[in-house]
Every structure is written in structure tokens, then in C-alpha cells.
Symmetry: C2
Subunit: 210 residues, 2 copies
């Protein structure tokens, strides 16, 4: 699974554009993973949107994950879910979605990373790497910094993705810690040109590996 | 399925008592159905609570339903789910929980009642019967009145349960419209004696049938 560039959707901070439009642009820019989040939408609206995103991402061969809701992931035939501390346990996702599903877990410490790996997570979202504007719009509210990103990446065998305040101009530093990719919301959703922003993010990840 | 008295849980309006304590008392008072709702709790907390409620209700042979979350219902082996307009479609619940699961649907008009029946709902929650204090704590915010409860009950073959502002002293009138039962939150959760309140509600339902 290629986790280089990972988009978390948020129509509320997409500068008036629809999430469908943003995801189309991100696919055009080479996005590697899309997570349907949309905390402000009802489950019913996320379901309708999810069916559209499933068509788009399947055509582009891009994995589609769903934040929090295992039932929604199953209903739209997503590739998996992303879970946080407040969500259902990894074991429930595994039971309901099967062995082949991708199950991601948010963590912010090496201890939590090892526990998530032990419980069967396929990858980790780690953050917030950098300061972020809002707990409401970003999954991770508290800055943990690059040293902690490195400590998490070194603590586990599964891949990790840095999230929180990541942009094209600071993404290479995240990869240099040993993280396998970067996840963003506003760096793509709020960009003037989301396709160009996605390409810039991918280029930054490549630079970080050099 | 006996829908005479139906409790929707809300620890936030349980006068400092736990939902486990309230459900134990309601079972003691003869409650017929329990729905785990708890809009203020994280999915993880509802999961932990749901496992406890599953033990209690199974021992008492009382059906346990889960509000909104099909994944949570499956995870705790609940008997079914209760869905509203903003939740996933009935068809998704049926697919994921199976033919034997109980799937309830909130409606407030005869047209919506017929559509829910056509889509496979097993029962309807209809309301708000009477004025309620808060949209946040009661599932149905707008009073529709007894005539509409009667119109819904007459529009469908599946059973209907009146919800919203129902108390022991006004429950008989709900049953007299043709509704099959009454659902309450605060009439039980906020009662000085939740077991006695449940018994009083059951007695009122009996009176309404005479
Ligand atoms: Ni690694």
C-alpha cells in the first residue's frame, strides 16, 4: 500500500467546492489514499457522498477509507476504515470488514503505536506533526513534533503517516524522520489548485526520501 | 415483539445516575424494549456501555436496539437498530444485520410511514407526540399531536410507538389513537424512582387499551 500522499476530506474547508470536486482534482494530482471524513455531515449524506467517491477512486485505483464508521465503510464497499481513540476498537473493524480490509489507527505516542500494531492496525496516522488551526477540522489537535514522529516510526513495523499542519513546504521533513507518508486536509482541500497542491506534496515526499 | 414500553437511554439526563443503573431499574419495572442512544458519548464509550446493557437485557429477555450505528449494533450483538432521516438507509441495516434483526425508523407523517414500511422497517417511532424540552435530548423535536399519531398508525400494518413528551399521565391517550406502545427518555431516566415510573407507564398503556 502506497501511503505517500493521503487526503482527508472536509467539504467545510474546501473553499466552497464540493468534496467530489476536490477528490477529482487530488486524483488528477496523483493522490495515493483518500479518507472520507466529513465530521459535519450526517451519516446519510456521507453515505451518498461515499458512493460517489467509491466510483471515482475505484476508477483511479486509489484506496478509499472511511473515518470512524465501519458500517458506512461496508455499505459503500470502501477499502477500510481509520479509527481513533474515541471510535470502535480495531477488533470490531477486523471482524466486520474482514482480513483484507485496511484498518488505520490514530496514535501520538510510541506506546500507543505498539499497542495498535499488536491489535492488528495496518498503518498509523501520527500527529499533529505541526501546529494546526482547529481541533474541529483537523484529526489531531496537539502538536507532538518531528522527534515524536520519528520515535513512532521506529517503534513499529507497520507504516506511519504524519498528519496535522503538513504542507508541501514542510512535508519532506516528515518523511526524513522515517514516516512513510503525509496526510493532509486543508493543504489540498483549501488550496487554490488542489491538483497542483497534491503534485507538490508528492514531490516533497520524494525529496524527503533522497 | 412487545413494544408497550420502550426506553431510550440518555445518561446526560439521568439525574447523576448511570445508564446501567437506569436500565436495571427499568427492567425491574417491566420495560419491554431498550434503545441505547447516548448522543453525547463517543462510539467507544457506547460500545463499552452496550456490552453491559447486552448482558442485562439478555438476562431479562428484553430486546436491545442501538440508535443510528449499525456497526455498534453488530459489535454488541444487539437485536437491531433504530434509524432516523439522517442515518444510513434501512436497506444497509438489513444487509449488515440480517433478516431477523429489528429495524425501526423514525417518521412523523403517514407518507414517510408508508415508505419506511415499504423499505422493510419492523416498527415506527412516531413523534413528537407532545411538546418536548430539547431537540438535543429528545429524538423528535417538533410536536405533531395525537391526530397525526393516529393517521400514522392507520397508514401502516407495522406497529408504531409514540415518542416525545410522553409520561405516565398522558400515555393512555397515545395508545387510544391506535399506537402500539410509548417510548420515553426523561419520563424514566429523570424519574425519582425509574422502576416505579416504568410500572406507571405500563399501567397507562394498559388503561389506553381498555
Ligand atoms: Ni517504517
Amino acid at each position: 500500500m502506497n501511503l505517500d500522499t493521503y487526503l482527508v476530506t472536509a467539504e467545510a474547508i474546501s473553499a466552497g467546492r464540493s468534496t467530489v470536486e476536490i477528490v477529482e482534482a487530488a486524483i488528477d494530482g496523483g493522490i495515493d489514499v483518500v479518507q472520507l471524513r466529513e465530521k459535519e455531515m450526517s451519516a446519510r449524506k456521507r453515505y451518498d457522498l461515499g458512493l460517489e467517491l467509491r466510483d471515482l477512486t475505484r476508477e483511479a485505483d486509489v484506496p478509499l477509507l472511511v473515518n470512524d464508521r465501519i458500517d458506512l465503510a461496508a455499505a459503500i464497499d470502501a477499502d477500510g476504515v481509520h479509527l481513533g481513540d474515541a471510535d470502535l476498537p480495531i477488533s470490531v473493524a477486523r471482524d466486520q470488514l474482514g482480513e483484507d480490509a485496511i484498518v488505520g489507527r490514530s496514535v501520538s505516542t510510541p506506546e500507543a503505536a505498539r499497542e495498535a500494531e499488536r491489535r492488528g492496525a495496518d498503518y498509523l496516522g501520527v500527529g499533529a506533526v505541526y501546529p494546526t488551526d482547529s481541533k474541529d477540522t483537523d484529526p489531531e489537535g496537539t502538536e507532538i513534533g518531528l522527534d515524536r514522529i520519528r520515535a513512532v516510526a521506529e517503534a513499529v513495523e507497520i507504516p506511519s503517516v504524519g498528519i496535522g499542519g503538513v504542507k508541501p513546504d514542510n512535508a519532506a521533513a516528515v518523511i526524513e524522520t522515517g514516516a512513510d507518508g503525509v496526510a493532509v486536509i486543508s493543504a489540498i482541500t483549501a488550496a487554490d489548485d488542489p491538483a497542483a497542491a497534491t503534485r507538490a506534496l508528492g514531490a516533497a515526499v520524494e525529496r524527503g526520501r533522497e
